[in-house]
């Protein structure tokens, strides 16, 4: 493969500068790199992808799970070209999918369709409305999912739960801005109606002492505490600054109050307060839901700009920090828009944002316990992409996944590196890696009890009618479903420390917070039918809420054996292939030996009553044992 030096895109040039100061060096000997002489600045070789096992590890961090095809492609392209390709891939948007369901299929859109849209993005593949269009924006979707666990909106909330288009609009903000600038993301999130409803900025109004009403502090508090700066002042490496041995609060209750007064005067885009008694009487459009997918609009009469005594808060002191514009003091007399801009700029430019957001993105993609040095390198890229641009998420994401710690952390910190795979990522992984399809695979006319008929459009894709257990109620079994957290604090907190060994070692494990005794049983049990029973070739049963999406066992038949089975025809090719596909080549010798000792015994006498090829038994059992194992559970 020839290498031509092109003008690097902005994110990449910044990245190279930012990483040049580190000891970044990929330990690989990919042939293409030898033909390429790096510049003196370029100590890294991120165009190299290394072995298939290395590629699999990279894809575990950047996609919804490696597939053999993606591994081969990455090995061929190298990391940089792969990232370029991902940055250019057309976004999979939920609203597009909902539009197809509504306009082409003529179905009533509901929240289940939002989940189907999420699975379409997560699994990728042909678009159901246009099979020539292949959804392949894996990195964008993975980052959007990570952002949905930081900028949390939950469809458990009344009103949001009734408007799938509002849910989709919000998620599309995350999808659209995943490779944009963090400042834009912050503003788009702030003005999205779903967030406005969820954290009560929508219809928030200036103080009215005649009604004993004052501005709601919900968004003001959480945008600081959870979305941007956090509770305590951070060093550039993410560790807390200390004074007298104790952390220093980032802000006070008075700061929250001041922001609450700033975030007033915003409402539904089509709100006409003049025809209502109260500002909060403006309502969602119950017929069309149209205003659920338009940014909130400003209404100056209801905005506290500090000039209406005695109710307004004059001279709002926002965050103050070295370099803060006007020391964080908002001058009275602004408009809702200018005050919002000042407030979001004020938050965005706080030095905490880089380490605070950088660490959480690392935790979502790579490892629960990044070293301070790793966080500091990412924060530096957040602060400056190399061209004086702050908040360039493309540069931040690239830096996170190309960092030496992301690539070599498992070798450097074997005891603590990695993260528990999230339940939704596990499910997406097996489906992607094993070629899952909906078993029905065609449209089906269903007759209702009243003799009327309707059509179920399976479209041969796993995400269509994926079923109650499979896709719609993963919260019930796994404590996780997209945009369905119990609160704005997400399914789990970034600083959760599991009891036992990890507590003794001061190791964080966010995902362990939802890994309860029952959940771990359900996660384990879920593998059993998927690995052992359900196959893509089974007869379609549209009433089956569980097994309607199934994997393709036969694709690995050649790996499972070539002769009569038994020790003379061992299963090592199968185990080694699954080691790469599912575990990034990181299976321990103990686990490999244990698996082979068992799988090698399976031979041609193992015929399950003469109904199936004995090699399928090897495939089924290898999958079950690997996907339930503690070694697989931790992405490293």
């Amino acid at each position: 493969m020839s290498k031509t030096v092109r003008i690097a895109p902005r994110w990449r040039r910044g990245l190279v500068l930012a990483l040049a100061a580190t000891t970044f060096f990929l330990d690989t000997a990919h042939a293409a790199s030898k033909a390429y002489q790096p510049s003196s600045l370029l100590l890294i070789k991120p165009w190299i992808s290394g072995t298939p096992a290395d590629a699999s590890r990279f894809l575990a961090q950047t996609t919804f799970g490696p597939t053999d095809a993606d591994i081969q492609r990455l090995v061929k392209l190298g990391y940089l070209a792969w990232l370029d390709d991902q940055f250019a891939a057309p976004p999979t948007r939920m609203l597009d999918y909902l539009g197809w369901v509504k306009n082409t299929l003529g179905e009533d859109v509901d929240t289940n369709h939002v989940l189907e849209a999420w699975w379409l993005g997560a699994l990728g593949g042909p678009d159901p409305g246009n099979n020539a269009l292949i959804h392949r924006d894996q990195l964008r979707q993975r980052v959007a999912f990570a952002l949905s666990e930081i900028f949390v909106v939950s469809t458990k909330t009344t009103l949001i739960d009734q408007f799938p288009n509002g849910q989709a609009y919000f998620y599309d903000v995350l999808v659209n801005d995943a490779f944009g600038n963090f400042r834009q993301l912050l503003e788009d999130v702030t003005l999205s109606p779903a967030m406005g409803v969820y954290l009560n900025m929508l219809s928030n109004q200036r103080t009215d002492s005649t009604k004993n009403i004052h501005p709601d502090e919900n968004y003001a508090r959480e945008v600081n505490q959870l979305f941007t700066v956090g509770l305590v002042l951070l060093n550039p490496d993410g560790t807390p600054q200390l004074s007298g041995g104790l952390p220093i609060p980032t802000y006070t209750q008075d700061t929250v109050k001041a922001f609450a007064h700033v975030f007033t005067g915003w409402n539904w885009a089509d709100c006409n307060p003049a025809v209502h008694q109260n500002f909060s009487d403006c309502d969602v459009n119950w017929t069309t839901g149209a205003n659920m997918q338009q940014p909130m609009a400003a209404f100056a009469n209801y905005h506290d700009n500090g000039t209406r005594a005695p109710d307004d808060l004059s001279g709002k002191q926002l965050l103050n920090y070295p370099g803060a514009a006007n020391a964080g003091l908002l001058v009275d007399g602004g408009t809702p828009q200018s005050d919002l801009k000042f407030a979001l700029d004020n938050i965005f430019n706080h030095p905490n944002v880089g380490p605070f957001i950088g660490r959480q993105l690392i935790q979502r993609l790579v490892t629960s316990n990044p070293t301070p040095g790793y966080v500091q390198r990412i924060a530096a890229v957040f602060n400056d992409n190399g061209h004086g641009v702050r908040g360039d998420l493309k540069a931040v994401i690239s830096a996170i996944v190309l960092d030496d710690e992301a690539r070599n952390g498992a070798k450097k910190y074997p005891d603590s590196f990695g993260k528990l795979r999230e339940p939704l990522l596990r499910m997406a992984h097996i489906w992607r890696a094993m070629g899952a399809q909906h078993r029905c695979g065609h449209n089906k006319v269903v007759t209702r009890s009243d003799k009327s008929v309707y059509t179920e459009h399976y479209a041969a894709q796993p995400y269509r009618y994926a079923g109650w257990y499979s896709a719609w109620s993963t919260d019930y079994l796994f404590n996780q479903r997209v945009m369905y957290a119990n609160s704005v604090f997400n399914f789990f907190r970034p600083n959760f420390v599991p009891p036992g060994e990890m507590a003794q070692k001061n190791l964080y494990g966010p995902e362990f917070q939802i890994t309860t005794d029952s959940q771990i049983a359900e996660v384990t049990n879920d593998v059993l039918p998927r690995a052992m029973w359900l196959d893509i070739r089974d007869t379609c049963d549209s009433t089956d809420d569980y097994g309607d999406v199934a994997i393709d066992h036969l694709r690995d038949l050649a790996l499972a054996g070539s002769g009569q089975g038994g020790p003379a025809d061992p299963a090592d090719r199968l185990v080694d292939a699954y080691n790469v596909r599912f575990m990034g080549g990181q299976m321990s010798t103990y686990m490999r030996t244990t698996l082979l000792n068992y799988l090698n015994r399976i031979d041609h006498y193992w015929d399950n009553g003469g109904t199936q090829d004995w090699r399928i038994a090897r495939i089924q059992r290898a999958l079950y044992l690997i996907l339930t194992s503690p070694e697989y559970a931790i992405q490293k």
Binding site: K211, N212, N278, S487, V497, E501, N525, L625, P630, E631
Partner: protein, 482 residues
């Protein structure tokens, strides 16, 4: 091996010291505790925590019915005031101990008919604890506004105040809760190896202890891992390989080992719990919860009743259980908007569930063995945001059980004499309890509330001081409701 109380004391003392400045982030690291050998009981007791996620607005749960106080209430909450003639009167003493403390009379929210009936009956099992909240030490309005006395960090923040309520004080690395710490110290009370603490609604700070010996289950049962052990009759069958891969110590990474330990914990405990729930002779406790659903509060409490019954009726594996702690919850209490239509559902459910649980236990002669109490993120502001309320601080709470001396109001007061003091309902400026923006400063600390419960449970005074390091800052250490 004895629990090392000296180390525990040393560490928690640090926490208390840190608390005086910034307690949530004090560098607390409790010892990894060994089991205590000091407690042994012939009787059985259960503590049941009902956590109301979101911050319950108790100022619309318990509302003045006398003219003067009701007028204040109506003035301070014009948009969300409940009509006076819809309130459900509470027959508490008019003055002195057991009274609301302000000479007024109070009623429940109109949706709470079940609890009203129990509160007003003879030998009432329902007590109200007035104006409870997170405190480091007593604090007045001027002390709060001038910042001269330590207060819990991040007041009015959901997550932080949930953590403070459940751990008091919270700490980092790792946080432990007072439910977990109670179990750490009293662990020797149980002969059985079953976890003493069960959560039926997920993980939270309350149940985290040093030993981590809790069990987090579904609302109705414990999920079991279905390993196909009957398959593959080869000597080396599938289950044995599954077992080999989860075996302790075979993994090379701390996260992997933690995951393996969690699988093992789940497997080893689930079968025993499910056997107990389905034990022969189990009464039909579900029938006391007419609206029971798959996973709601009713389902959780019905399951708790079954486990309490199991421990008291010689069910295999449960015979040695003398002390149990349960955590159940329900959510949706963050009523920023449309509180008037939302709250009847929330409080009606709570009232029916608590009353149903009490009646269920009572039907099996177990009512006096369990004390059930509410907890929540915080109270809500006395002032309103148009048609809802914002995050507040102090709040009233409910305790129910046969061991409770009910029909009365409890709590502490500004003179620290240990009787209830309902907060003023005046507008902010003229309200001595108002922190400045409608948030009501608690007169009773979570520590006093929790220590009263833990005292009934059997913890010694010296152990209460270990579990609640800030209890020393309050002169009244037992509120006397149980």
């Amino acid at each position: 091996m004895n629990f090392d109380r000296r180390k525990f004391l040393c560490k928690t003392a640090h926490a208390a010291l840190g608390a005086s400045v910034y307690s949530a982030l004090g560098n607390l690291r409790l010892v990894h505790a060994a089991a205590s050998a000091n407690y042994s009981f012939s009787d059985y007791k259960a503590l049941v925590c009902i956590f109301l996620y979101g911050g319950n607005d108790a100022f619309n749960m318990i509302v003045p019915t006398d003219g003067a106080h009701y007028a204040q209430y109506q003035t301070v909450r014009p948009a969300i005031a409940l009509a006076r003639n819809t309130l459900l009167p509470l027959n508490a003493p008019a003055s002195g101990a057991g009274s609301p403390g302000d000479g007024g009379s109070y009623g429940f929210h109109p949706a709470m008919t079940d609890l009203q009936a129990l509160f007003n009956q003879a030998s009432s099992p329902v007590a109200i604890v007035a104006n409870v909240g997170t405190l480091v030490q007593p604090v007045t309005k001027s002390q709060y506004q001038n910042g001269t006395v330590a207060v819990p960090p991040q007041l009015f923040s959901h997550n932080d105040q949930q953590a403070y309520w459940q751990s008091s004080p919270p700490s980092n690395a790792p946080i432990t809760g007072w439910g977990g710490r109670i179990c750490d110290l009293i662990a020797s009370a149980n002969a059985s190896t079953l976890p003493m603490l069960n959560s039926l609604s997920g993980e939270d700070a309350f149940m985290r202890g040093e030993t981590g010996n809790n069990y987090i289950m579904n609302a109705g049962d414990a999920a079991t891992i279905d390993v196909p052990d009957s398959w593959d009759t080869n000597a080396n069958n599938l289950k044995s390989v599954f077992d080999a891969l989860r075996a302790a110590g075979t993994q090379g990474n701390a996260l992997e080992r933690t995951y393996a330990a969690q699988i093992n914990h789940s497997l080893n405990t689930a079968a025993q719990i499910n056997a107990a729930i389905n034990a022969t002779g189990m009464p039909n406790f579900d029938s006391f919860f007419p609206a029971i659903s798959d996973s709601g509060l009713d389902r959780q409490l019905s399951t708790v009743a079954k486990l309490i019954w199991a421990a008291n009726n010689g069910v295999a594996g449960y015979t040695g259980q003398k002390r149990q702690v349960f955590f159940v919850s329900t959510g949706g209490f963050d009523t920023h908007d449309r509180q008037l239509p939302i709250q009847p559902v929330l409080l009606g459910t709570l009232s029916r569930s608590m009353a149903g649980f009490h009646r269920a236990l009572n039907s099996a002669g177990l009512a006096s063995k369990a004390t059930t109490f509410t907890a929540s993120d915080f109270g809500r502001t006395l002032s309103c945001n148009d048609d809802g309320t914002d995050h507040g601080w102090g709040s009233h709470h409910l305790v129910i059980g046969g061991a409770v001396t009910g029909g009365r109001f409890y709590g502490d007061n500004p003179s620290h004499t240990g009787t209830a003091a309902m907060p003023s309902l005046a507008l902010s400026a003229g309200n001595p309890n108002d922190a400045g923006y409608g948030q009501i400063i608690p007169s009773t600390s979570v520590d006093q509330y929790a220590a009263t419960l833990a005292g009934w449970f059997g913890l010694s005074a010296s152990d209460l001081a270990l579990i609640f390091p800030n209890l020393t800052n309050f002169s009244v250490k037992n509120l006397g409701f149980a």
